[in-house]
């Protein structure tokens, strides 16, 4: 990334000005995830000016993209060469950007099988709170030179700096896909998923709710065929199945959709990230289980105390993904030692505290 790029120098000037005035900035891509995390504050800093694919070589399995590039545009380019972002980042609406994907760190149904956003970040070029342009990581998969700052940016909600350009590991799209459905209750589904996890099966995603377990197989045609015969579920029509997985990935399924009235009624969406083997969790409302049991979505009116206790009892944590009242904190509280490290990191990356204040934790 060239330091004298006009789009970039414009951003640097804004950062330096904000630093000098101590004025917060809200880093904005497509604005599709404004609902996620603490309430955005500060003057919007539009990242759309910094867009385009800087380099893409399918044989290197790496793409380098500027942060304001629309995720849809990137995925279309990858698809032309038979490749994809295997972790299926959600596209809440068409304007979502690559920078927003990294900042939010959210991954879709395939997460448990292939890893998340941070596992696919190879390098970043970023602006810190002093307006300095810094590069960490690179364009190669194996790289242990210095601390892995680039991966720290994934899921940081933009509080450490502005990701200007990111290099991502990409993979070939699976050659064969099939979706099977099983009529099983929650306990049976979790038990079955646990059993399959320790076998060499090409299970790429799973989702359970209301007595039905969907399992997606993906990989070499021979492996998918063999697993289909072994697991013996009802096969779903491929197009119908693709739309169903997409509705989970992009949060268009009704469990994720919130009208203003729903929010006003106090309805919220909790994401409980737990060990996959955790026993069934009971909260008021409706549940959807993904990631082979490691992600349990609850939509209802559970109080923060209740959701957080249920998650931590089994060694996990709960995030308030949708909800009107965020006074309980969106992300689960940290231990004093981790909080201190967070505060110090924030201070070293962004001494004036201008980037996305309050988006991750209210304190910074």
């Amino acid at each position: 990334m060239q330091q004298h790029d006009p789009a970039l120098t414009g951003l640097m000037d804004r950062v330096i000005d904000a630093r000098d005035r101590g004025a917060p900035l809200e880093i904005r891509g497509g604005g599709t995830k404004a609902f996620y995390g603490g309430e955005p504050r500060g003057a919007p800093l539009e990242m759309g000016v910094l867009c385009g694919i800087s380099s893409y070589e399918p044989t290197e399995l790496v793409v380098t993209v500027r942060a304001g590039t629309r995720l849809a545009d990137l995925e279309a380019v990858l698809a032309q060469r038979g490749q994809c972002l295997p972790f299926e980042p959600p596209r809440f609406s068409p304007g979502g950007t690559v920078g927003g994907m990294v900042a939010a760190g959210l991954a879709g149904p395939a997460r448990a099988a292939v890893g998340g956003v941070r596992d696919h970040v190879l390098g970043v070029t970023m602006l810190n709170g002093r307006g300095e342009l810094l590069t960490f990581g690179g364009q190669v998969a194996k790289n242990v030179a210095g601390y892995d700052v680039s991966r720290l940016m994934a899921g940081a909600c933009g509080i450490l700096g502005i990701v200007c350009e990111v290099s991502l590991k990409v993979l070939p799209a699976p050659r064969a896909i099939a979706t099977l459905c099983f009529n099983v209750d929650e306990t049976q589904a979790l038990e079955q998923l646990g059993r399959w996890a320790s076998q060499p099966l090409p299970i790429n995603a799973s989702a359970w709710r209301d007595g039905r377990l969907h399992v997606r197989l993906a990989g070499a045609a021979a492996a998918v065929d063999a697993a289909r015969d072994k697991l013996k579920g009802d096969e779903i029509d491929p197009l119908e199945a693709a739309l169903w997985w997409q509705s989970l990935r992009d949060h268009t399924d009704p469990i994720y959709s919130f009208s203003d009235a729903d929010l006003a009624r106090g309805e919220c969406l909790w994401r409980l990230s737990v060990p996959s083997t955790a026993a069934p969790i009971r909260l008021p409302g409706r549940q959807l289980i993904e990631w082979h049991g490691a992600e349990r979505w609850w939509r209802g009116t559970a109080a923060a105390r209740e959701a957080r206790a249920a998650a931590s009892q089994v060694g996990g944590h709960a995030t308030l993904v949708r909800g009107k009242d965020k006074s309980c904190g969106v992300f689960a509280p940290l231990s004093p030692a981790l909080m201190r490290i967070h505060r110090e990191l924030k201070r070293s990356f962004d001494p004036a505290g201008i980037f996305n204040p309050g988006r991750l934790y209210p304190e910074f």
Binding site: G105, A221, G315, G316
Partner: protein, 478 residues
């Protein structure tokens, strides 16, 4: 010493020279420092107590596993304490349902796979030192191995680490779930070479052992077509379980060592492996064969059975000892470049051989661009050692110029401090220091490693530009 003796049993504190001499260096034996004292705690409470004592006295602490590191990450500090974690060797739990294992940091890498084997599971990252190296060391270095293209690095296979901060406060990064709240700190702790925290317990992911693995050995008449073949395999959407390359000189060295019937005429040999269910492997192997022959392979052989597969690999696995057989000493380099620059890099190394008057043999994790040139030299000849270090620095700087990095999997330690000046600008190095201080404000954990000071880089730049040769290359420069 008196303070340490109060918190540890008598046999857990070593201070006589004959007891501490084995801790003078790790596998980078060129750098040696006599440690002031070595402690061997056996419980979390003792580790915390040691850290509190050292923190109160401002004494550096260097955590150490098996000492197999190749970059001097565990080199002692002149007035520091070596915290050996060798006694933390218990496998706490193997859970087949969640496909995880909880192990203490001193457990050897291969011991995890052995403990998981009855459940049909194993721990995927397999650095070549896996029979000796510990999981704690793997976490410190973010170790790789020959299968990372498909299975990832240590970071991708670790869920949670527990341990202590420099002041002895207990801390936990990551969780048994797939993510943890807040910043993803485990991403920086893994690979931090013991400078952010002391890790005593690790929760790793286990994966089902593939039912079958088969390997193709393909010969190429020139380096360019071997490099192009690597690219075509990937372009066809194939992710091999392993994809390794050896050049002609290396093939000759290993053939003399293992007698595996390697093609000695080939300019380069590729080993390309597929693993999975028998159906999957059959499908993938036939696609690989097609791609490799279209890429101009002059000879292709597919392993018929497990014995033959292991024979194909025997040379690659013995590349280092085989090099020891043809030279009294060798220096193993470890850089990564984009795969497409492979031929260019090997040509550059060829030129360096005549420039520095030393021979070099090459093995390459071709699948992920990680190069291990072994520079052959005689350590008893000071001039050869000097030329070898210049040769090594040239390889690293060429790697950066080609879009790569100065270390793919061995770490920076003390060995690559100078090269870090080339790869990172002052503001980037300053941020590394600041990040380090967020975890360890007094900079007591493994000081002097990974990040070169501004002064050191200035000195290196000056020496580099004005003289081209490093004076006193034997001196470590912190």
């Amino acid at each position: 010493m008196a303070a340490l003796a109060k918190v540890l049993p008598r046999d857990a504190v070593l201070f006589r020279h004959e007891d501490t001499v084995t801790y003078e260096c790790d596998a980078l034996t060129a750098y040696r420092t006599s440690p002031l004292v070595v402690v061997l705690p056996e419980s979390d409470a003792q580790v915390a107590a040691v850290l509190k004592v050292c923190h109160a006295l401002g004494v550096p602490v260097i955590a150490r596993g098996a000492g197999t590191g190749l970059s001097g990450g565990a080199t002692p500090h002149l007035w520091g304490v070596i915290l050996s974690l060798a006694r933390f060797n218990t496998i706490v739990k193997v859970d087949a349902r969640s496909c995880t294992a909880i192990v203490q940091c001193g457990v050897r890498n291969v011991a995890i796979s052995e403990a998981a084997a009855p459940y049909g599971l194993y721990y995927a990252p397999d650095p070549s030192s896996q029979i000796a190296c510990t999981i704690g060391g793997n976490v410190a270095e973010n170790s790789g191995g020959v299968h990372c293209l498909k299975y990832g690095l240590t970071l991708h296979n670790v869920l949670r680490v527990r341990g202590f901060l420099a002041d002895g406060e207990p801390v936990e990064f990551g969780s048994e779930a797939l993510d943890a709240p807040g910043l993803d700190l485990i991403a920086v702790v893994v690979g931090s070479e013991g400078m952010l925290a002391v890790v005593t317990e690790v929760t790793v992911k286990l994966v089902p052992k593939p039912q079958q693995a088969r390997c193709i050995m393909a010969s190429f008449g020139d380096i360019e077509s071997a490099g192009a073949a690597v690219a075509s395999v990937i372009a066809q959407g194939i992710i091999p379980a392993g994809l390794e390359l050896m050049d002609k000189a290396m093939t000759a060295a290993v053939e003399a060592f293992v007698h595996a019937d390697y093609d000695l005429e080939a300019a380069a040999i590729l080993l390309c492996e597929s693993d999975g269910t028998p159906e999957e492997v059959a499908e993938e192997i036939s696609r690989m064969e097609e791609v490799l022959s279209a890429a101009g392979a002059s000879r292709i052989e597919v392993s018929r059975d497990e014995a033959q597969r292991l024979k194909f690999w025997s040379g690659r696995k013995n590349a280092f000892p085989a090099s020891g057989g043809i030279s009294s000493d060798y220096m193993c380099m470890d850089s990564t470049i984009p795969r497409k620059r492979l031929a260019e890099m090997l040509r550059a190394i060829e030129d360096m051989q005549s420039k520095y008057g030393l021979r070099c043999v090459n093995v390459f994790h071709a699948g992920d661009g990680n190069l291990h040139p072994l520079i052959l030299f005689d350590a008893d000849n000071p001039d050869e050692l000097r030329r070898c270090e210049l040769f090594g620095a040239d390889v690293l700087e060429t790697s950066v110029r080609l879009g790569g990095t100065v270390t793919g999997e061995h770490g920076v330690g003390v060995e690559k401090l100078n090269s870090m000046c080339v790869q990172f600008a002052p503001a980037e190095r300053e941020l590394f220091f600041a990040l380090r201080r967020a975890f360890d404000p007094l900079e007591l954990l493994n000081p002097g490693k990974v990040i070169p000071t501004l002064q050191r880089c200035a000195e290196y730049g000056k020496m580099h530009v004005h003289r081209g040769l490093l004076p006193h290359p034997e001196l470590p420069r912190f």
